[in-house]
Symmetry: C2
Subunit: 554 residues, 2 copies
């Protein structure tokens, strides 16, 4: 009975954008679709990356037949090195995606230890009971695919991230023929991208960017700096083509930009026009009106090339009057402020900056409402499960699916860890695993707990007061201290006698001496210090710094 159903367990990508990873279960066998990371939310202080729960994958690894990857964006491949360091499992991807994964494995010193096998939309892949049929889609990176996964219990389709670009710049359009024939054969469930369900109509074709770049750059008397995602190979191609048209020499700047372009060029996904791409040092010998730089930093990331140029901090590149900077990207939610600041800084240096909405210099890689409906009408699934969206996107997708004839009860809104079962009987949540997220903090994967984050939030708000006291272990009286040290604490009075800290020290001393008994009650002293200092400080400042008594005994 259980082998006549398919189960889907999202490890990420539902109720959140990023960290896409979905387990497909048939009988005893498992298949993982994508293994992405996401960037930390605002309150995850000090965290570098967030990846799916690796321990869950370790538990089930003996049943895992493989990991199949839709495309080479961070939110679909970024967790692979962390997973592969702990789980031994074959990985399958198309050519460019494999190339980008290989760059990552190299960085994590896993190359050679873990291989990635090549798949193509021409040949289905058989992994245990799963027959995986990749199909071409269009997205903001070349060589993107979705998957039809056939099992004895039926077929489920992952769209991957997609738009229906009818005039793509790189490669052919989505494989409508295959999509239609998959739909004809009958599909149990569709797991669809829903990122852009808030937008009516169609997302413009990537091709419109070429025209924008051309009209901006044609008559420019100065240098051009174009910034976009390092993985947006298609955008880079268009920039190179326009540069070539106007005889500009291009330097690709930034490690990830250089690496990604190199691998894309090597694999045939990025064509370097003749006599166009140079090393940064070599473009210097050309006049500024003959130069284009293509850099990372479209999200205002502090360590990116563009941010460093904008803050006058880049070793080789200085922005100046006469430069035109094109931000060929829109800020990811949460990055609006840093992007705005980068623009401001560039303008302060006298550069011109062109960004949305001043000109059409970016289009999304995700399909809008009409494209999502077209996918539904091609695949005609019995059930749907929207992925790659915040919770509101999932809800809006359910409504959109209703417009396309899918009853709302056939659209499952899953949360991470839900076990969603699809079979002839229906679609329902049958179980829930408590699957978390793993926080990457420096080299520490998973050691930074909720408690640590809460402490960081507390510290960041009001700072910390440390009280060091040395007590006589026989009498409980103070031998040395109290020393009070503050960091990040708002002190209206600052140093010197009669200060807030000075008075606090007196209060603590009195409180302890009043309470001194013949032996040291460690817990009692600690809570006495906390209480005394907390009350005093709150009355004076209306803030609640973290208070850390450190008691030593001699």
């Amino acid at each position: 009975m259980s082998t006549q159903s398919i189960r889907v367990i999202p490890l990420g990508g539902v109720g959140e954008i990023g960290k896409n990873a979905t387990l497909v279960e048939y009988g005893d066998d498992l298949l993982l679709v994508d293994a992405g990371l996401k960037f930390p939310e605002e309150e995850m202080l000090g965290i570098d990356l967030v990846i799916p729960d690796i321990s869950f994958l370790q538990e089930v690894q003996h049943r895992l037949r493989g990991i199949i990857i839709t495309h080479g964006h961070e939110d679909h491949i970024g967790a692979l090195p962390y997973i592969l360091a702990n789980v031994s499992v074959p990985v399958y991807a198309t050519s460019l995606t494999r190339g980008l994964i290989t760059v990552k494995l190299k960085e994590h010193k896993l190359l050679g230890k873990r291989d990635v096998d090549l798949i193509s939309s021409k040949e289905p892949l058989v992994l245990g009971p799963f027959t995986v049929q990749p199909f071409r889609v269009t997205h903001s990176i070349p060589d993107a695919v979705g998957f039809a996964i056939h099992t004895p219990a039926g077929t489920i389709v992952f769209t991957g991230d997609f738009k229906f670009d009818q005039t793509p710049v790189s490669g052919p359009p989505a494989d409508f023929g295959t999509l239609a024939s998959i739909g004809e054969r009958g599909v149990l469930a569709l797991l669809s991208d829903c990122t852009r369900v808030e937008k009516a109509g169609y997302t413009p074709s990537e091709r419109v960017i070429r025209g924008s770049f051309d009209s901006i750059i044609r008559d420019l008397p100065g240098r051009v700096i174009i910034t976009t995602f390092a993985s947006n190979i298609i955008r880079v191609q268009q920039a190179l083509d326009v540069a070539h048209r106007y005889g500009r020499k291009v330097a690709l700047v930034g490690r990830s930009m250089e690496n990604n372009c190199a691998i894309a060029n090597e694999l045939g996904f990025l064509e370097f026009p003749e006599d166009t791409v140079y090393k940064l040092d070599d473009v210097r010998r050309f006049g500024l009106d003959q130069v284009m730089l293509i850099t990372t930093g479209s999200q205002g990331e502090p360590s990116s090339v563009l941010s460093r140029i904008a803050s006058g901090d880049h070793r080789q590149i200085r922005a100046m009057a006469g430069d035109t900077v094109i931000l060929s990207a829109t800020p990811i939610p949460g990055n609006e402020e840093t992007v705005a600041r980068t623009i401001d800084n560039l303008m302060r240096l006298g550069s011109d900056v062109i960004y949305e909405p001043l000109a059409d210099v970016h289009v999304s890689g995700h399909g809008s409402r009409e494209e999502l409906k077209l996918m539904l009408n091609l695949i005609r699934p019995r059930y749907c499960m929207p992925v790659h969206g915040e919770y509101r996107h999932l809800v809006l997708y359910r409504r959109l699916a209703a417009e396309a004839g899918i009853p709302p009860e056939n659209v499952i809104l899953a949360e991470i860890g839900d076990v969603v079962q699809f079979d002839d009987e229906g679609a329902k949540k049958v179980d829930h695993h408590s699957i978390g997220s793993v926080l990457v903090d420096g080299v520490n994967v998973g050691g930074t707990t909720e408690v640590v984050l809460r402490d960081r939030q507390h510290l960041s708000r009001d700072g910390v007061l440390i009280v060091a006291i040395t007590l006589d272990q026989t009498t409980g009286s103070i031998v040395a201290g109290p020393e009070v040290v503050s960091r990040g604490f708002t002190d209206p009075s600052l140093d010197g006698e009669g200060t807030l800290i000075g008075e606090a020290r007196e209060r603590i001393r009195e409180a302890i001496e009043d309470a001194a008994t013949s032996t040291v009650e460690y817990g009692f002293v600690v809570s006495k210090v906390k209480e005394t200092l907390s009350d005093f400080v709150y009355k004076q400042t209306r803030t609640r710094p973290m208070i850390l008594p450190v008691i030593t005994e001699v």
Copy 2:
């Protein structure tokens, strides 16, 4: 000679949005236009508000003839209580603005001690050498004005925040006649709002909202919750009108919403339709399809009514399936994530949420490019100085002004503290005062320094390690400790023997004992501890927590 020029000194509002405050200087006399606050930037950890430099105003208060206020938004009046607590100066505002200021003074226990005088567009105000002529503009709050300030050296015009709403909901359109006649008489300099210079065309009229509310609410079977800025009295009016049309009873929820609506109603700027506005407790006796709640929380502020409803945390209101929540506002840059989370949470509770871009439920209160040009063509100033914008807005405004015939060199881009002189000779920066911003942290106004903020940032990233050691003051050897306490520090090993902290303690002990001399070199011990622990921890975790040695001697 100096009395034949006017000088303008921005204390805020240039290169930043918010904290509008501009000093106008003629001869020995000064006039302050607006006194706003801004909300802290992301990296100002723990800060509540940011206000203009009060100490500078204290220095010049004997020359200050008054504070004139354009309208009642926080970024134009929010700093008044802090300024008036320290500076004794008369304040002038229109009726509603005065009402809203009075609410603030009451909260700060300044009512009676400081008065606000009424001004109107009918009567110029003479303050020393300044003749102030207010003129009506339209904005997202009623009773907004701009000022023409006439001096013997010429006239300068402050637009205040404005749009040209040709069909305003509350009150008449902007006073085109007065604006044109001010322009006819000749204007030396225009200080113009430039917030929305990135947007082409015209900002839609506030009136379109009425139609949106009507079509959404007309056939709704459940409760409606509308959220907007507490100061957006005009939006509230339209919500009340639609509620009345469909027989819904309205409760105004949230302290600032209740206070602002009460004062606006009292002063005749907000009309309560018959039998429509009830107390929250009293709307309960009506069916859900007969109820509308109007609340604060459109920015996802954690303590706001809507956020608390969304997180199931409000004492009286529970969101549920059947509710429709209308977010009648767009997120201020930086608030996108918290607003998105509020929407997600409401949807998780089963409520429907309507927001931009799903429906036209918000329009801006600031004029777009065509309106900014219309203002330029009405006033026809010799010089311009854009205000109320980030640096990129100032730059874009200079280009826009060029389209309207103002040479770029006649448009001054000022920074905070610049002294900009306008006279027959030209417009130029003649001086710069080092004017800062004052951070409000709890009750502490100005005590939170850059150093404190940097420490909070450090603490928030990697946490803190405290090392307490008691040394013998004659031998320098360790009497007690080292105790190592961590907070917010990522520890891969957690508690117990053989842990990272345990090993760190050993390293420190060894380092000190190796170095022990006959007397305690306090600085030496501290730097030894820092160095030893920092190196060890970085090698183990690749993080750099703050390290705080606390050494006591016995």
